[in-house]
Symmetry: C2
Amino acid sequence: MADIKYEILEKIGEISVSPKGWTKELNLISWNDRPGKFDIREWDPEHEKMAKGITLSKEEALKLRELLNKIDF
Amino acid sequence: MADIKYEILEKIGEISVSPKGWTKELNLISWNDRPGKFDIREWDPEHEKMAKGITLSKEEALKLRELLNKIDF
């Protein structure tokens, strides 16, 4: 796989930590020098490897927040 | 890839729709007959194909909500 250039613009917070130390995080990330997107993804303890995840635009993050706020957990 | 059995237990809502009609959605999904997990993922218009996504436990969904609610968009 070709290298993907990315820069973590803002570490928003940790969602969880796995027994092996991988963290699921919400960050603001710039991919390939593009403007930052919200990003929910798992990272290894050294923050060198990343696993599957999903990116969200500002509008999508706002909509997701609205949906989560409606849930009766 | 082996078939993955899944059942959408609850359609919580759409996050966005792409120009090609794929929808990014938040759902409660049971994978391989396991208990439901929150799931953020893209689906094709017929809801037959799915793209990359991420699953969240109840605790993770609550933490994500907390993080999103702190963002000053």
